[in-house]
Structures are given as C-alpha cells and as structure tokens.
Symmetry: C2
Subunit: 683 residues, 2 copies
C-alpha cells in the first residue's frame, strides 16, 4: 500500500476519474473535497515546519481576514502555531496571493470563482481573478496540508480549478426549530471549507417568523416564541458570510406555510386562522394568506421592502410552495373575486398573487425566487425557480427560459446516505436533453435541511459531512463520481470540519453516551452501529410531528448513514468478490460473531432503560443476522451446500431484520443478504 502512496506523492500524473476508479487504496489521494477541475500532483513537498510568510496583492480586505482565518485554522488542524506573521523571523515557507481584481460590493452569482494554485518546495503561489477564487484556493491549501514523513507539509501540486455551477447552496430551515446565530455561523465556516457559496435561510413558516421586523414587529413578537434574529444579528450574519464568500438568501414563504403571518395578522388569512403557531400535525388548519385582500400586499410590501434592505443579495425567495386550494375554493368572497377577475382556479389565483409579489420584489430591487409551484405560464421570466419536485420540473423551467436550481435529490433531512445525494446531477435526467443554452439556465443546486427533527444539538450531524459530498457535485467536473473515492476523502474532510468548530462527530458521541446510560457503551454500540434512522418521510408518517417532543432518541443521535454498517457491507463485497481476500473474510467473521453474542450481553440492561427498550427489538434480529451470516460464511469457506430449507430459514431471518421499529432500521442487512444469496443450494 505504501507503493500507492509513493506513486501519488512523488510521481507526476493528472488524476482523472479512471485513475480514481482504478485505485484500490485511496489513502494516497489528497483529501480534497470538492475535487479540483484539474490537479497535477508533482514530486516534493512544501514543508510547514516553519512559520508561514504570506504576501497578498491586488485583493480586497477580505483576503487579509481570510489569511488570518487560514492561519488560525491551519493552527487548529495541525496543532502547530501559524498564527502570527513575525516580521523578524526568517520564515522559509512563503505563500503569495494575487487577485486580478477586487470583488463586487455585493457578492454576485456571476463573479469568477476560479483560482490557480502552484505549490513546490519553495512555497505556494495562488492566483485568482477575484478574492472569491483566492479564498477557495486557501481552502484547497488547508485540505492539502497533511502529515508527511518529517512533519506537516503540503504536496507539490499544480491546480487549475473552477466551479461547474455558480450556485452552490445549502438551505437551512430555522422556522421548525430555531438555530442560534453562532450555529449558523459555524455552518457557514463549514460551507466555505467545501466551497459552497449560498446559504439560503428559510426564515418563516407555520412554526415561526425568525427575523426582527421594525415595520411589523407583531411578526416576531407574536409569532416567534422569542426565537428570532435581531436586525443587528442579520447584519452580522451577512457580513460574516460575505467575508467567507457566501451569499445569504432570505426566504419568506407565502402565501402558504404562513401561519406565522396569520397568527400576527389574523385578518389577512383566507379563513379563520389558527390562534397559534403550528406545534404538531393536529394543528394543521393552515389557511394561506388571502390574495384578494389589499392589506396583504401592503404588509408584504412593507416587510419585504424592509427585508430587501436588510439582506443585500440580489435574490429574494418568496417560497410559494404547497398552498392548499381548499381554503380558497370554499371562501365565498375569494370565489367571487376569482370570477370577477376571470381566474379559473386556485393556480390562477396564486399566479396573480405571484405577479403582484414579483412587482413588489422587483420594486425593492430584487430578483424573485420561488419553489416549483410558482411556475405557471404567466410567470415573468425574471423569476427564478427552485425545484424540489425533480429533474423534470427543473428541465421544464429551464426550457421555458427561467433560471433554475435543483433541490430535489438534495433533501438531506431525508436521512439518505452521502452516496445517494452525491450521484444526483443537476444536468442529468430530462436536463441532459436540453440545449447547451437551456442547460446554462440551470445555475446549480441547494442541499436542503428542513428542521422538523433537528435541534442545535444534532443539527451539525444532520448537515455534515454529507453536505461536503453534495458540494463536490456542484463544484467538480461531472465525471468525478467514484463513490469509494468520495467516501475515502469525506472521512478525512469530516475530521477537518470538526476543527472548524462543527460538532457532527462529537455531539453524536455525547448523545450516544447519554443513551447508553449505565449499560456498557461497547455493548450498546455494537447494536446501535447496525442501525440507521428510517428514510424519506417515514418518521413523520409513523409518529406525528410534535415540535415540543425532545429529540434525544436513538434516531436523533445516530448519523443518517451508519459508517460501521457501510464498512461492513463493503467488506462483504470484498470477501465475496475476491476469495483470496482473507483479511476481509476474517473481519466479516469477527463482526458477525460479535453480533451473534451481543443480544445476551445487552438484555440484562434493557428493562431498566427507556432508550434501550426502544432498540431492543433489533437486538435478537441482529444476533440472528450474525448466526445466519456465519452459517453462510462457513458454507462458503468449506465449500458445502445448504439445504433449501436452511436457505429459506436464512431468508426469513433477513425478512424479519428488514422490519422498521422505533423509527429505525437495520443497515447491515444488504451485506448479510449477499452472503446468504451466495449460498450454494442442494439441487
């Protein structure tokens, strides 16, 4: 394996997808994520043993701060000191940064974010057309830093890098569960580390309005439960993000998802509104805003105007999704209005509403974004569509001339593995058949973290590290899609992200230690590591959403994707595909043995522990998976056949293990199933 390492470090080659796919070990790859458009790994390294001298030219003040952060972050990541530039010291390592231009006063989607980086033994040279590109280059340098044989160094490389998509976003819902400002800032640091450039904040929904309005203070006073950002905090957030090359897009969802508006202003609802914010599913009376009421437009004009000044970005998101037509259809005065104005149905009414909204948003100097639903034939082309419905809707919008971004396939709250989101491509599916001109309208995508089931405690774990894989999809060439390479790099990037202050690993550790209570942690973990949260919308379908429910269960603590399960399943692949891989086979055997024994070790602690009671239902099935897997492995190793009856019994065990309970599912059944399916049967 050392051979591979040497090859990558000391031999020049351009790392393209075929090479990625062919490598059997990924340890030799620099842990870059997103992978650059072009990278040439040369021989030699730049040593980080000495303090670092940095010279900047042609950039704006953001680069000075970015270099300060780079020094601080390099110090954290390495445990060494790179904090200060000592004018007297003889500093061998030099980093030279040059920008050809200063950035725009408000970061724009059209700014050039490319950079060129050259590292050799004498130092590093970073050139970029804009400060944005230079900041991306600094992140690449941070990811390149690694332990060499003599200490920390940066491999000699030549990188030419430019993003595939200009809009690389993360949407965070802060309405269902509020997130404190420092947490949003932490997420922005993580985003910048993986070259994402848009934080879209879902600021209002049925559960709360999360920004201070001076024009309509009832919004935060009556509809936030005290949890909102002050205008000063928003200004801080915007400045914080700008310093890191991230744009902030505010979303205020109207006319549906608008209980927060109607709790504050009941007279603007299309029907008798809910007297309070939505706390759980039985609260869903949810009448939308009344599009026939002129006061609605007056209020939106006031508040959107105020917010348009607060959020400097050129884009402004008005939501527009999931309006239940029943309230409009059953209201006499709305029906009368529709007849008068020749609006044939609820869609037409919403289209009229959106046109008025577009006028307001435009008046305040912004381009309007909305979810799929706002797309109707009448919608003016200045609007931008964010697609949650899928590639088809995306392609339709682009074809019709709208700028679009894709979020379908990137709903990271649905608990799918990184590999799933990683392989979703904004230009695949229907979009692949668009003309190049039409494809250009697909600006990128946004990972979306809806917040029904996240709190400040587990939010990082829900967002990271999977969002780094999505970031690679948005930035890197389409051909970079080797899943094994992605996971190898993701693991190391995940380590680095914790040094940015993110807590996706440490909070999970703490939560699992809490759940184990006085039971032996290792015994609890053998079972817990085989489990994952259920996917898609199954949690909400089986357990009614309740915003007041504590999120301290196994489903809340366990990562969406079980690392241990993924490794087991991969290990089975190795053991099956290569009978000579005795290490893999032995490791599979050990894991199966541990499962087989674990049930007996866990049972004594169950009756006294509420959390263990919630997962004990999986304990016997996992032990049985261990037994079945071992029988299949024995049969394979001894080259014996099993009877049809035995095989059927094995399949039954698998079937039992595939059942979901407590909003969890066993994640290791695919591997065991493969072992069982490899059994040779008596004829």
């Amino acid at each position: 394996m050392n051979r591979f390492f040497l090859r990558s470090r000391f031999q020049t080659f351009i790392l393209l997808t075929p090479v990625l796919a062919a490598a059997t070990s990924f340890a030799e790859q620099p842990s870059l994520m997103p992978w650059p458009s072009q990278i040439d790994i040369k021989s030699g390294t730049m040593s980080l043993a000495h303090p670092l001298r940095v010279e900047i030219s042609g950039c704006d003040a953001r680069l000075v701060h970015a270099v300060d952060r780079f020094r601080a972050q390099l110090s954290l990541q390495t445990g060494d000191h790179y904090r200060h530039q000592d004018p007297e010291a003889n500093e061998n390592a030099v980093l030279t940064i040059h920008c050809s231009s200063q950035g725009l006063p408000v970061q724009s989607v059209s700014e050039d974010e490319s950079y060129a980086l050259e590292v050799d033994a004498g130092g590093a040279k970073l050139d970029a057309p804009t400060p944005l590109g230079a900041m991306h280059g600094l992140q690449t340098l941070l990811q390149l830093a690694e332990w060499g044989p003599g200490g920390w160094d940066i491999p000699a490389v030549r990188v030419q890098d430019t993003p595939r998509f200009a809009w690389r976003g993360l949407m965070i819902d802060v309405s269902r569960h509020f997130m404190p400002l420092d947490q949003l800032e932490r997420e922005i640091d993580g985003m910048a580390a993986v070259k994402l450039n848009v934080l879209h904040v879902h600021l209002s929904d049925d559960q709360g309005f999360r920004v201070e309005s001076k024009k309509a203070p009832k919004l935060q006073l009556l509809a936030s439960e005290g949890m909102f950002y002050t205008q000063d905090q928003i200004r801080e957030l915007v400045a914080f993000a700008r310093e890191r090359g991230v744009r902030i897009i505010p979303e205020f969802d109207v006319p549906g998802h608008s209980t927060c508006w109607t709790v504050a202003y009941p007279e603007l609802a299309s029907d008798t509104p809910s007297p309070r914010l939505v706390r759980n599913q039985t609260d869903q009376q949810l009448p939308p805003l009344d599009p026939t009421n002129e006061k609605v437009y007056k209020l939106l004009d006031d508040v959107f105007g105020e917010m348009a000044r607060l959020f400097p970005d050129a884009y402004f998101h008005i939501g527009g999704d999931e309006v239940d037509p029943k309230y409009w259809n059953k209201s006499e005065h709305i029906q009368a209005f529709m007849k008068t104005h020749d609006l044939k149905d609820a869609d037409a009414l919403q289209a009229m509403f959106n046109k008025r909204l577009l006028a307001i948003v435009t008046k305040h100097g912004k381009r309007m974004i909305g979810w799929d639903e706002i797309l109707v034939p009448e919608l003016p082309k200045e609007s931008m569509i964010q697609s949650w419905r899928g590639p088809k809707a995306l392609a339709v919008a682009a074809k019709q001339g709208f700028s679009t971004i894709l979020s379908a396939g990137y709903y990271i709250d649905l608990m799918y593995p990184a590999s799933y989101h990683y392989l979703v491509d904004p230009l695949a599916g229907d979009a692949a058949n668009l003309t190049p001109e039409e494809q250009k309208r697909i600006l990128g995508g946004e990972a979306a973290e809806w917040a029904e089931y996240i709190t400040p405690e587990n939010a990082d774990n829900r967002i990271w590290p999977r969002t780094a894989a999505v970031a690679e999809r948005y930035w890197s060439p389409a051909s970079v899609r080797d899943v094994d390479s992605m996971y190898a790099r993701l693991d190391r990037v995940s380590t680095e992200l914790e040094f940015f202050g993110l807590t996706h690993r440490s909070s999970q550790e703490r939560m699992l230690a809490r759940l184990a209570g006085s039971a032996p942690k290792d015994v609890v973990m053998v079972l817990a590591e085989t489990l994952e949260p259920v996917k898609e919308y199954e949690r909400g379908e089986t357990h009614e959403f309740d915003a007041d429910m504590p999120l301290n269960q196994f489903i809340d603590a366990l990562s969406p994707e079980s690392e241990a399960s993924r490794r087991f399943n991969r290990l089975v692949d190795r053991a099956l595909s290569n009978p000579q891989d005795l290490v893999a086979r032995r490791d599979v055997r050990r894991i199966l043995e541990r499962w087989r024994e674990n049930d007996a070790l866990l049972q004594p602690y169950v009756s006294a522990s509420w959390p263990l009671q919630s997962i004990v239902v999986f304990s016997t099935p996992v032990s049985q998976l261990g037994s079945v897997g071992l029988e299949a492995l024995d049969a394979m190793e001894d080259n014996v056949v099993v009877t049809a009856g035995e095989h059927a019994a094995h399949l039954d065990v698998l079937k039992t293990a595939e059942a979901h309970h407590s909003m969890l599912q066993i994640a290791v059944t695919p591997g065991v199933r493969k072992l069982v399916e490899a059994e040779k049967l008596t004829r």
Copy 2:
C-alpha cells in the same frame, strides 16, 4: 445482572463501603461522585417527564441563578426541555429548596456546605444551612438523573451529605501556557459539578505574569507576551466562581520562579537577570528577587495590595518554592547583608523575606499561603502551608500549628491514573499519627495541573475526568475507596462533564483523528490505545522543555490513563481469577489477536507519516505481546505446560515491551505479564 439493578433501585439499603466492594456490577449505583456521606436508596422514582416546578426559600440570589443553570444543565444532559418555569403548566414534579441562612459576602472556608436531600415520587426536597450546601445538593440531583424504564427520572433517595474537608481545590498553572478566560470558567463548571470549592490560579512564574496590574503595568506589558487577564476579566472570573460556590485563590510566586518580575524590573533581581521570559530549559538563569533591596518590598506592597483588592478571598498565595540559593550565596552585597543581619544561610534569608511578605499580605487583609519551603521555625502561625513535598512535611506543619493543605500525590500533570491519586489521603501516612486537634489543621488538598505540557486544546483532557476522583477523596468519607466502584462511576460522570462543555473526550478524539491522518483510524487506534504518556518527570528529563514546541504529538493527545488498557488488564484479572468466566477469556483472546495482526496492517502507512513514525517502535512489541499472550492463554486453556525456554522468551518480549520511547509507554504489559506468569512450567 438485572437482579443487581433491581435490588438497588427497589430495595432500601444504606450503601456503605463493604457493599460497594462486594458488588460485582456497579451499573446499579447512582453515578454520584463524590459519593455522599450517607445515602439511603429507596423504592420508587421521581419522574422527570414533566416540566419542573422549583420553589426556593431562604437562600440568596445565587440560588436563583443556580436553579437556572440546573435547568439548562438538566436539559443538556437529558436532551429534554427543563429550561423555563411555566406558571400556567400543570407541573407534577416539584423541587423545593430551603436555605437556613444566606451566604457570607465573600465565600469562606468555614461556611457549612452540608445539605439534606429527599427525593420520592412526589418530588424532591433540598435543605441546607447555606446556599453553598443547596448548590451542592443541586449537583447531586443532576448526577442522580438517569434513564429509567419510562424515561428520565431520579431515584427515590434520602441523602445526608457533608464534606470531609473544607478546602477542596484545583490548582491551574496559567503561566507556562496561558488559558483563556472561557476555559477557566469551563473548569469551574466542572469543579462545581464534583463539589470542589477552590480554584487556585498560579498567575506568575518564569514564563509570564498573567494579570493586568495598574500599579506596575510593565508586568503585563513586558512579561506576558500579551496573554494576561484584564482586571475586568478577573472580576468576571471571581463573580463566575462565587456563583458556583468556588473561591479563587491567586498565587504570585516569589522570590523564586520570578523571571516575569525581573524581566519587567531588572533592577530587582539578585543577579544579572534573564533579558526575556523562560522559553525552554537552556534559558534557566533564573536569579530570584533580591531580598536585600527595599524596592522589592515597595513593588510587592504595591502589586500585592492591588491584587488583594482584586481577589476578594481571605487567602493569598505567595509561592515561595524552589529558590536556588546559589545567586544569594555568590552575591557580595547579599552576603554582606546576611552577615549584618545575622542570617546564617539562604533559608534564613528567605525566612526574613517571608516575614516581610507576611506583614505586607496581612496589612492588605489577607492570610498568606506558601509552599512547603516557607515553613521555617520563625514563620508566624497565621501562615498556611501547601505541601508538595509529601505527607511528612504536611504532618510537621500541622504539628507545629499551621493550617495546611496537601498537594503531594495530587499532581495530575504527572500522568498517573485516577486510582493513584484517588487513594492518596490527606490524613494517611504521618498525618494518621497526629492528634485530632492537629489533624483538624489539615484543611484538605488541591489537585495541581502544572502547565508545561498543556494547551487550551488538551487541558480538559489533562484535568478531567481524573480530578473528579480526587474530588471524591476530599469530600467523601475516608472509607469510600473502592477503585472499581470509582471507575464505574467516573465513566458516567465523565459523560456528564462533557455536557458541562468540557472537551476531555471530544478533543482527544479530534487530536487522534489528526494524528491518524490518512491511515485507517481503527488500525492506528488499536496501537494507540495500548499506549500512555510516560509518568512523573520523565518527559522533561528526556526531551528538553520548550514552550514553543507544538503539543500535537501522541503524548499530547492520549489520555494520561488508557481506558482500553485498564479494561484489558482488568479483564485478565477476571479471566485468571475465575476460570469459569468464559466471556472474559474470550474477550482477552480477541484483543490479543487484534494486537498480533495489527503491526502488519499499520506498517504500510508508517514511512509517509511523521506521527506514525513516532509510535511504530511500539507496533512490533504490541504484536508480540499479542502472540505471547495467546500462547499463554492457549497453554492455560489446554492445561499444557511450557518449557523454561519458551517462558524465558515470553519474559523477554515483556521486557522489550516495557521500554519507553517517544515519551510513551505500553500500558497493557501488566495484563500480559500476569498471563505469562500464570504459565505452568515443565519441571
């Protein structure tokens, strides 16, 4: 094992040491640390399913804030919501707190810290003579909270609790490496959690002066490298500590360990002073202050007076340790002074210095504390002695009538395991022979964390969780000294401490992930878990101290005590003492197998990694320990004998494995040695 749990939860008994010792599983014990003077565990529980109503009477404002913190902490520990008291809610659980008196304006060593706590299904009742006792009772409640069969609850108990010693301290050196204020505050939260009540801050030494002085600003301007607490920060720290029942004792070390003073005021040194602060061992020219110079007393009067006002506690620490007599002995004017004043040697000169110091400290309204060295026959009895030299020095001081505290045996920077410090008793050794009157002068002890090798990154890991075991020694009855029980509870208290914001586990995880780099973490960890930092002063003896050296090596990341190694050694004890314990024997076998195989898995990554190069020297020995242990285990299981030659070869392997390298040592040799020593030899 469930049986034990049931017994403790549903059967009344007073848990005394014999019971602790007799239990084979400690899962049933509440994870209390320190263990209370008297606890009666009753049947039933108080459910924490509902929000908590708290009623306070008779206490001062500190209790209101303490209850706010209690709610916040309970919320963090449980992941549930106990933050607000909802006046409208029907809150079943009630906590009633009563204090018989308000506390003193400045917390005193003489305040009664006892409390009585009664919990039953209807609620909890906490009574205390002072707010300090009530705050301790709240910490006990937090530790009692646990998962029951139906969710979080608190077992029904009756606790009568009072500390064995009034002075229960932690000393932190912030001179060798500075600690930011928020970190000190975090340590105070941890201290309060385990009922420690004195934070002694070692504020000046050869490496820096760490408080802003307005009287002598050169001290922080010339002798802190910019790292010092402002007076406002000190006021914040003192208030923060007071709110948590913790006293702050400042130490300014004179006349030795005083390079910071002489860098700022060269004219006060006993010899040509060092032009700069001590950075490493070759800097050690270290002339002490000149006791014959009246300007010294003028400056100390000014600065100590200023500091006496800043730190409200009744005690003031002047250090006084480790003065090198050579500077005084070779100075003509000092020798002349000594002759004139009939001072026969350096000790007599320091005694004179200390008398002048005592007058200054007394004038400013304080009682003086110093390390052992200040104790000379002439020292007035108002002084207090902190003993680092040992139980003998402690007993001598107490016998002579001095108040004393013990720190010898509690130097937690020396990397000894929790069990070592845990079993050091301030009243053991020579102190056991003192009269009760003399013993009363031994007020308690202080764990001491000297800071040559700690940074903000690993400081928590150096202090916690071991300090919780020391806290139990200071608080609990002397008879509470079962090491297995201590470790079982320490593990759970350690989990709780992380919810107080301490990072002793998470920072270690991050640092080890950094050290593993691109090598497989599990392979690196199999080796790293067998290792511990070298003990006592071996690090400094083998590698010259250098304050600028990055502390990012394995020795800096690994806990002083390897949990995994301790468990392995315990497992061997179980396997050897009970041949029927097949689980223990099987687990021992698996661990040995993993070691045996690990070397081959690790080697491919070594040449490219600086940190792996530093530990690879242990890789083969650990693999050999695996082989040897397995052979010994095989011999035991098959009841066969080994030849004398084989046995000797096994002992050779052990000997090799006992060598220290890279400031590390293998911690699992004791267990393997026991296996080898159990081998039956051919006659």
